[in-house]
């Protein structure tokens, strides 16, 4: 089933951390397996990278903690070696870290080099995007990663009921469009031509970390934008090129977009005002962040909508 939510402030930054937590928590019944956030803080000269070194539900042997420690040091060492100046490295969990660093080179060699460390996965990389995802419900994840008070302009989130792949962090949304900076996607639905697109994108040199069909949407859109298309055009092409049922949301450094498949098979409720736009699988999620009485509507099939911050 899964639940997705998005919010974009058009009049300056807000507390998107706790807003997205409230939106996702009110849709907990749509997916209790994992919760994920893609939050956009104020853009910075430095790059921010979120990584995980292991999965929280994997078997822990005696050497587990030491090994993670070693791998963390190895990542710091490799970042220095590739020419990144690490500003701060901070662990929210023993297996999840946030690294800020200065780096002007190409992102793909850096991400590939970091992911080459055993067990490591780069969850997000960009100048303002941070992806936080973990098992259990939104409030627990927000508490563990201290997301309340995270200030920014826009965010998307996802509560997952696993149907296509495992219950772990690799299978949790949102997905970063590896290796394109600051692009992320959440998806509610199933793609039926996933393998075809995965092979096609892999031939272009892209890497996929999970078996989850949603992972290709992010890379698919980012690749199109890299080829010179606008976000809206790329999304419109996806309506014909991606098969299956979907409502997906995509975020870039300064925009939030949503697209619905041609059968309008997955729900979406939308609230628009001059100050902010909030959208989610259920209206309760929108009402969790807006105190006053609101009017909402359901976008129709094949609709593509994009808002800028």
């Amino acid at each position: 089933m899964c639940g997705i939510a998005g919010i974009i402030h058009r009049d300056g930054p807000g507390d998107i951390g706790s807003e997205m937590t409230r939106m996702l928590q009110s849709m907990k019944h749509r997916g209790p397996d994992s919760s994920g956030f893609a939050l956009y803080g104020p853009p910075d000269d430095l790059l921010v990278m979120r990584i995980k070194l292991a999965d929280p539900n994997e078997t822990r042997d005696f050497g587990w903690a030491d090994r993670l420690e070693r791998h963390r040091d190895e990542i710091e060492h490799r970042l220095a070696k590739i020419g990144a100046m690490v500003d701060v490295i901070h662990g929210d969990q023993e297996y999840a870290y946030r690294v800020k660093f200065r780096y002007s080179g190409d992102l793909k060699p850096l991400a590939d080099y970091v992911e080459d460390v055993p067990g490591c996965e780069v969850l997000s990389l960009g100048h303002s995007l941070e992806i936080i995802k973990d098992l259990s419900d939104a409030e627990s994840v927000a508490e563990r990663y201290r997301l309340n008070g995270f200030t920014g302009t826009h965010a998307i989130g996802h509560v997952r009921m696993a149907t296509e792949s495992d219950v772990d962090i690799s299978g949790a949304h949102p997905y970063w469009a590896y290796p394109f900076s600051d692009i992320a996607v959440v998806h509610n639905g199933q793609l039926t031509n996933y393998h075809m697109w995965r092979r096609r994108l892999e031939r272009m040199g892209h890497r996929f970390q999970s078996e989850c069909d949603s992972e290709i949407i992010a890379v698919y859109l980012a690749q199109k934008m890299d080829d010179g298309l606008t976000l809206e055009t790329a999304m419109k092409q996806s309506l014909d090129e991606l098969d299956g049922v979907f409502t997906y949301m995509v975020v870039t450094a300064d925009a939030l977009g949503v697209a619905k498949d041609e059968m309008a098979a997955k729900p979406l409720v939308l609230y628009e005002s001059p100050e902010l736009v909030a959208l989610a699988s259920e209206e309760v999620a929108i009402r969790a962040v807006i105190g006053h009485e609101i009017d909402t509507y359901d976008p129709y099939e094949r609709q593509v909508l994009v808002w800028n911050r």
């Binding site: 409230r22 928590q25 009110s26 907990k28 019944h29 409030e139 059968m263 309008a264 729900p267 409720v269 259920e282 209206e283 309760v284 929108i286 009402r287 969790a288 009485e293 009017d295 909402t296 509507y297 359901d298 129709y300 099939e301």
Partner: protein, 260 residues
């Protein structure tokens, strides 16, 4: 802020009616008002049942439903219920008898399998509106999503605004009046019944054809629209089943073998 809202109500198997309604008036004139803001789905429905069944009150107003799911379902008595706000999914399903007015919007699958009565929605509705409707009137003053009246088996659906794709998908009986435009695949695989459209039709579904409006149709449209104060500036077209898919008397190949 901790959210303890549980959409399925499974977390509270032993819930009781909160009894927070304010009842005014005497005898058959009694009216009840209750605030649903801090109640769970189960508590809201239990309170509604207490007022309608136990207290036999025929005028009930619910405040602040907050787009919660599955509210006002399975009410099987003649009464008038006003819901001041918006409903989530599966609102007012399986009702038989009540007149319900919703001042806000409703989510997917409103009035599913409704048997009789009236449901009036002042704003928009989601997809699958009045799925498997059996009787009564479902009126939406705003727009509706996709697959309105899927598997409809009776009653009337009136939409003041536009309707999405696959409107009247597999409908078997009953009538739909759409004052605005409709999306693609109108009346796809419909068995019977009639769909009246005031606006543009994006495309017709499989085995759906246009039919001529009769004087009875004009009378029906004028009467229904007058009841709900809808005055669309439109001339209606009528769509019915083309009967190309009617193969009821033909046996399936496997069945034919059995007969032989």
């Amino acid at each position: 802020m901790k959210i303890s809202y549980d959409a399925r109500g499974l977390a509270e198997p032993n819930a009781t009616a909160p009894g927070n309604a304010v009842i005014e008036g005497e005898g058959s004139e009694r009216k009840a008002v209750f605030d649903a803001a801090d109640l769970t789905t189960r508590q809201i429905n239990l309170e509604l049942r207490r007022l309608v069944y136990n207290e036999q009150i025929t005028e009930v107003t619910m405040l602040n439903p907050g787009a919660k799911h599955s509210l006002a379902v399975g009410i099987l008595a003649r009464c008038r219920i006003t819901i001041d706000g918006s409903l989530g999914y599966f609102g007012c399903g399986l009702i038989d008898g009540p007149e319900i007015r919703v001042t806000g919007r409703v989510g997917w699958s409103v009035a599913e399998n409704m048997m009789s009565g009236v449901l009036l929605i002042e704003k928009n509705a989601g997809s699958l509106t009045a799925a498997a409707l059996r009787g009564g009137d479902v009126v939406v003053r705003g727009d509706v999503g996709a697959r309105t009246g899927i598997d409809q088996k009776g009653g009337t659906i009136l939409v003041g605004g536009d309707a999405g794709m696959m409107t009247g998908f597999m409908m078997q009986r009953g009538r739909q009046i759409i004052c605005g435009n409709v999306g693609g695949g109108l009346g796809d695989s419909m068995y019977d019944g009639a769909i009246y459209v005031g606006g543009k039709v994006a495309s017709l579904g499989i085995d759906c054809v246009e039919a001529e409006l009769t004087v009875d149709d004009d009378e029906f449209l004028a009467r229904k629209l007058r009841i709900y104060g809808m005055e669309p500036n439109a001339s209606f077209r009528k769509f019915v089943c083309g009967q190309k898919l009617w193969n009821y008397d033909n046996l399936e190949p496997a069945e034919r073998k059995l007969v032989l």
